[in-house]
């Protein structure tokens, strides 16, 4: 847009009402009844100059400019220069020479912004991230208020009278509080009462109330006044001599920014917010204030035609496009909403306006793929870096490339010069008032800075901090993110601070420690990397860190549990340099609890807490833990201070694009860490369905930040990036035994009855039906599980528990069904049956199974007549004969036999030393004769028997084999335990109830045990993070609703470091809900329910679908 008139009237009036070409305020040179003033009227307005020392700006001399620059400039150029420099010659020259004027050919109209755009997070980071003042700024001399411009506005009279207001009369602007709104003459219409808190009154020079400003203008002017940003005074431009109530009055308002407006939106609010709004997904009062402030500032700058003199214009087009889009969305519902929300009390959580943001649509898998595509465009020839010699593990090529990339990230931008923060714009203070009179200036302060995304103002130059010296390491699980980070710890240390430099501070530190510390008192920990990970991974991090370092080169310290009593400050800052921990490992829980402690102390921290240090590097492992930006954990992590920030996550986006925002915010990547900015360019386009555009932006954000490789990436040569051994998954379909089937049918019919009876209203009976389905699934595992109160509590179906208790009477047949499982558990030493029997068993054990010719037999089992065969063969044969209606007979001697008289031969050789069998008699001396007989059928559960069969087979094949057994029911693990014990299979147990130290010990033993061992794991406790590559076999005892969860568990074994083939066996009972669950799994592979991302209601609906499938 060109402004030819500027040449004649430099800098003087262009801000006011003459800008014919701006559409929003275009009713120029109009009749005096128009809301805006024409320029000739304006010229006559007199304004009292504020009481500030006058200042004489030099006139703009075009010839001088041309002379200095050394070339003749076209009038257009000159015009731009004048405009850009506010008529300041020196500045104009500079602007011309650095070329920045070219960017400014379009005066950036102040930007209308999305009211719901603002989060307290944004103001928080931006306000607090300011650097100390540039030298030379003398704030003390800054006046209390400073003129920034004038604009016209319409008002209406609230009373009638003659000569109430005369042309040119000075007007006071007052903010009417809701109480004051019950003045006479108030319009009783709905709009008025609805917005009674935006009423802005004005009084004449005699301080009599004359009228009010029009609502559209009053809305934002009210916020300016309420939030103490502006001081306004005005002059009357037009008023009829005889004023009647409701008459239009035209005023010109002169606006002054108050000194208090600058940089004052800060800590106090933030702290209160911290406590109150931590879980509030809705717009908080701070967010609303911010939003209103944002709108108000945008409007104000628009009205006074103040445009940024410098800012970030390279993306101006994009920026405006985005903001306009969002603004359009808002205008539909916005005006109403602004009124509504501003009316709401601070504690009202029902504000509708930010719902959209929180329930943003989830990303489909293909969208995610597209999103990662760019990030995954990994260059296989990118440079590598060799780790420092203190790092003793060898890295794979792609890991060295990661190291190079990370070192690059940490060092990269450190040489960049100071530049303005991308969210801020610079504005010049006007040097002339609306009449062309010179205004006083303050030395060294001829511009101010505005951040329209956070609605904040500042007098100081907002420096873009070199804050993102880190990134997102998003290699897929199993590629060795931990190792990569450890190599970085070794290879990139801070050399700038010799440890000795710290020592001089000792006395200082001491004295500080004793006084109550302020929130700003943060000590540097220049050689420490803080690692935050889920609790279950603490010990793994520690051991990997130790394994990776040559002895004595890296101090690893786990900050957890009782260790927390140590004073980190003493440890990191003052101890002599050899003892400073290089790596502190702590859990999210610890960070959170210390954060809450800090919040409860009103923002002051305990000096010895995690927050009392500024680390060299902070690393968040499994960083999707903070994907929800409103969660306490996320907020706690944001508060950590460090020079370098890294997040590790195999799934940086779990299901919405906002997941990534939280990471970006943690990383402090300006401008994206500003939620308002993020919403404008990413969330909003996503929501409006403009996926491609949002994707493009998101890719741009992620590309420099993220390094992601996947397991199935292929090198150009065709080799896999990580050659992992193959993994075979076998589904072992089992048949329930007759008595198990009876119990199952019992539950099935009951569930079906409930289901049919409530087919129309499943959601209501959800808990009951879901509990009954649970019973079915438990029966598939072990009928006795259904009687276990622990599980009932597990699944929060207390209702059903009660149900079962009260309905126990009609459960009598169930009780009898179950009692079949609680058969005797005797185990008898074979010696008791005499030498002959023993000899026979011994002899037969050496030969093959007479039925299947297997050699040796699988689970040698003897009949009552002491003939041996594989257990399964005998059972099959008995079954076969029964089906033919025959009395089962021994395959060998045709003696009649039955299930009760079958004994499994339990061998005690090859068993752990020190593991004494319960019923061994002292008479048996030779190891070979150590056998005992156990009646079959006491395990009761098909799955347990199947598991034992498999495990015993493995033990025969390779006594050193380690296996992992997963179940989602810890009480099922409880039942598996005794079965393993009986068969003398060594096992370990790991579940959620164990303390951290115990867990570590279990994993440690599992990895280091020389002999074969079985690890019993609960699916939930063991699903994440653990490294179980010592095992080769995985048994999944029961299916989960989504295979993704099972797959994650399997990946604990099948991951980097696994050297042999991995065999997975999934036990599924045929003809039961389990089989149908497999179908459900197939249907919704990788859908979000399983990952706990849906809210409770969505989950239920999803489950209802599942239930229908299960029972129909």
């Amino acid at each position: 847009m060109a402004h030819p008139e500027l040449e004649e009237r430099p800098a003087k009036k262009r801000r006011f009402f003459v800008d014919d070409e701006l559409p929003p305020s275009s009713s120029t040179s109009t009749q005096s009844s128009a809301p805006l003033l024409s320029s000739n009227v304006e010229a006559e307005v007199t304004i009292k100059t504020p009481e500030i020392a006058p200042h004489t700006p030099g006139a703009f001399d075009v010839d001088l400019l041309a002379g200095i620059i050394g070339e003749t400039l076209s009038t257009t150029v000159v015009e731009h220069l004048i405009k850009a420099s506010d008529g300041n010659l020196e500045r104009a020259i500079n602007i011309y020479l650095d070329g920045s004027w070219k960017d400014q050919t379009t005066p950036a109209v102040s930007l209308p912004t999305d009211p719901s755009n603002v989060s307290e997070a944004s103001s928080l980071s931006l306000v607090s991230s300011k650097k100390p003042a540039r030298p030379g700024k003398q704030l003390s001399r800054f006046p209390d208020k400073r003129y920034i411009g004038s604009f016209g506005v319409a008002g209406w009279a609230t009373r009638s009278g003659l000569g109430l207001l005369t042309f040119g009369e000075k007007i006071q602007i007052e903010r009417a509080k809701p109480v004051a709104a019950k003045k006479p003459g108030r319009f009783g219409n709905g709009a008025g009462s609805k917005r009674n808190d935006i009423v802005v009154r004005f009084t004449n020079s005699r301080r009599e109330e004359v009228g009010r400003l029009e609502n559209t203008a009053a809305a934002w002017i009210a916020s300016l006044l309420d939030q103490h940003i502006c001081f306004l005074e005005g002059t009357c431009v037009y008023a009829p001599n005889r004023i009647k109530t409701g008459d239009d009055l035209i005023l010109q308002l002169h606006c002054y920014l108050l000194k208090t407006a600058f940089g004052s939106f800060g800590f106090g609010r933030m702290d209160s917010n911290r406590e109150r709004n931590i879980f509030e997904a809705q717009e908080s009062s701070e967010e609303r204030d911010l939003r209103l402030r944002q709108i108000a500032l945008v409007k104000l700058f628009e009205e006074i035609h103040l445009t940024p003199s410098s800012g970030h214009h390279q993306d101006e087009g994009q920026k405006r496009e985005g903001i306009i889009q969002v603004a359009e969305k808002i205008t539909e519902a916005g005006v109403q909403k602004i009124g509504d929300t501003s009316k709401q009390t601070e504690n009202d959580p029902a504000s509708p306006s930010s719902d959209v943001a929180e329930n943003g649509e989830e990303l489909e898998q293909d969208q995610l793929d597209a999103l990662y595509k760019k990030a995954q465009a990994f260059d296989f020839d990118s440079p590598e870096a060799e780790p420092a010699s203190t790092f003793i593990l060898s890295l794979r090529r792609y890991q060295k490339q990661a190291l190079h990339w990370m070192i690059g990230k940490e060092t990269a931008s450190s040489e960049r010069e100071e530049s303005m923060h991308p969210l801020w714009d610079e504005y010049k203070w006007p040097v002339k008032d609306s009449d062309g009179n010179d205004l006083p200036t303050t030395s060294n302060a001829d511009s101010f800075y505005v951040n329209l995304y956070s609605g904040t103002l500042d007098l100081e130059f907002p420096v873009q901090e070199q804050n993102c010296l880190g990134g997102i390491l998003a290699d897929e699980m199993g590629l060795g993110k931990t190792i990569e980070v450890l190599s970085l710890v070794h290879s990139h240390r801070d050399e700038s601070l010799p440890p000795a430099a710290n020592r001089s501070n000792t006395i200082n530190d001491l004295s500080r420690l004793h006084e109550p510390t302020s929130a700003l008192n943060v000590e540097p920990a220049p050689s420490t990397t803080l690692v935050i990970c889920p609790m279950s991974l603490l010990s793994q991090w520690k051991s990997e860190a130790e394994k990776a370092s040559s002895p004595g080169t890296v101090n690893v310290f786990v900050y957890y549990g009782s260790e927390k009593n140590l004073d980190l400050r003493t440890l990191c800052c003052r101890a002599n340099s050899t003892q400073i921990p290089n790596i502190i490992i702590t859990s999210y829980g610890t960070v959170l609890s210390q954060y809450q402690e800090m919040a409860s102390r009103d923002g002051t921290m305990k000096p010895d807490s995690l927050f009392g240090l500024s680390y060299y590097r902070v690393v968040l492992d499994e960083a999707h833990m903070i994907k929800n930006r409103t969660s306490k954990t996320a907020k706690a992590c944001y508060e950590l201070k460090a020079q370098h920030r890294w997040v590790l996550s195999g799934t940086p986006i779990v299901n919405r694009e906002q997941d990534l925002f939280s990471l970006v915010h943690f990383l402090q990547v300006a401008p994206w860490s500003n939620f308002s900015y993020w919403r404008t360019f990413i969330t909003a386009p996503f929501e409006s369905g403009d996926f491609l555009r949002a994707l493009r932006v998101l890719q741009t954000v992620m590309e420099p930040l993220i390094l992601r490789r996947t397991k199935d990436m292929k090198l150009p040569s065709g080799e896999a990036l990580v050659p992992l051994p193959t993994r075979t998954i076998k589904i072992d379909k089992l048949e329930l035994s007759e008595s198990e089937r009876d119990v199952y049918d019992f539950f099935f019919h009951r569930a079906k009855r409930t289901f049919d009876a409530n087919a129309d209203n499943l959601l209501k009976k959800y808990t009951t039906i879901f509990a009954q389905i649970l019973r079915l699934r438990q029966t598939c595992c072990h009928p006795l599980l259904t009687r276990n109160p622990g599980i009932v509590a597990d699944e929060e179906d207390a209702i059903n528990a009660k149900d079962v208790e009260s309905g126990l009477s009609d459960d009598m047949d169930l009780v009898s069904l179950l009692s079949k499982f609680e058969g005797e558990t005797e185990e008898q030493d074979a010696n008791k049956f005499g030498a002959a029997v023993l000899r026979q068993i011994q002899e037969e054990s050496a030969v093959e199974c007479p039925i299947c010719c297997e050699e040796p037999m699988n689970e040698q089992t003897v009949t009552g007549c002491w003939h041996s065969a594989c257990k399964q063969c005998i059972l099959d044969y008995i079954q076969h004969q029964r089906e033919k209606g025959q009395t089962p007979k021994c395959f060998n001697c045709r003696e009649e036999i039955n299930n009760r008289d079958l004994f499994e031969v339990v061998r005690h050789d090859g068993v752990e030393h020190g593991h004494t069998g319960t019923s061994e008699l002292s008479t048996s001396k030779a190891a070979a004769s150590k056998i005992s007989l156990r009646r079959l059928g006491i395990n009761g559960s098909t799955k347990i028997s199947a598991l034992l069969t498999e495990l015993k087979k493995l033990r025969v094949q390779d006594p050193m084999t380690k296996s992992v057994v997963f179940s989602q029911f810890t009480s099922f693990l409880d039942l598996i335990e005794p079965a393993l014990k009986r068969d003398h299979i060594a096992f370990l147990r790991f579940d959620g109830t164990m303390a951290q130290k115990q867990r570590a010990a279990v994993i440690d033993e599992f990895v280091n045990r020389r002999n074969g061992v079985v690890l019993l794991l609960s699916l939930r406790a063991g699903g994440v993070g653990l490294n179980l590559t010592a095992a080769k076999h995985v048994f999944m005892m029961d299916p989960w609703w989504s295979f993704a969860v099972e797959a994650q568990a399997i990946d604990r074994v099948h991951r980097m470091g696994q050297e042999s083939e991995v065999h997975v066996t999934r036990f599924i009972i045929q003809g039961t809900v389990e089989e149908r669950m497999l179908k459900i799994q197939e249907r919704k592979r990788f859908i979000a329910t399983s990952l706990g991302m849906m809210n409770e209601e969505e989950k239920k609906l999803q489950r209802i679908e599942d239930i229908k499938e299960l029972l129909s």
Binding site: E848, P850, I851, C852, C853, E854, C873, D876, Y877, H880, Q886, K889, C890, F891, N892, R894
Partner: protein, 149 residues
Amino acid sequence: MALPKRIIKETERLMAEPVPGISAVPHDDNLRYFDVTIDGPTQSPYEGGTFKLELFLPDDYPMTPPKVRFLTKIYHPNIDRLGRICLDVLKGNWSPALQIRTILLSIQALLGAPNPDDPLANDVAQQWKEDQNTAIATAKEWTEKYAKA
């Protein structure tokens, strides 16, 4: 369907250590189908004859017995004109612990010891009971006629 380990093992053993006077060779295209020959036991009317049989292992073998039938015509009270054999271990007295080898031995034994009290071929059994000598002569004659060369 994969061949069960048991059948493989039995076949291998029949090949490796054949029973004197008995041979059993599986078909190439159906390893459950065997061509069997049994030499007539000495001191029996069938001496000198070589009898052909077919043997088939059903899917649920060894839970159910193999199916065996004489292909060579034979005059025997427990074997009918279609070659079907009346033998307890091939019926109710089958046990999975028995094998092809043992079954064929049992059949060989049956040739040596006909049991006209549990007949399958009623006319033959009748003859055997009423006039054993004539019956034996007929058996020899049949052997000569059908079971040689």
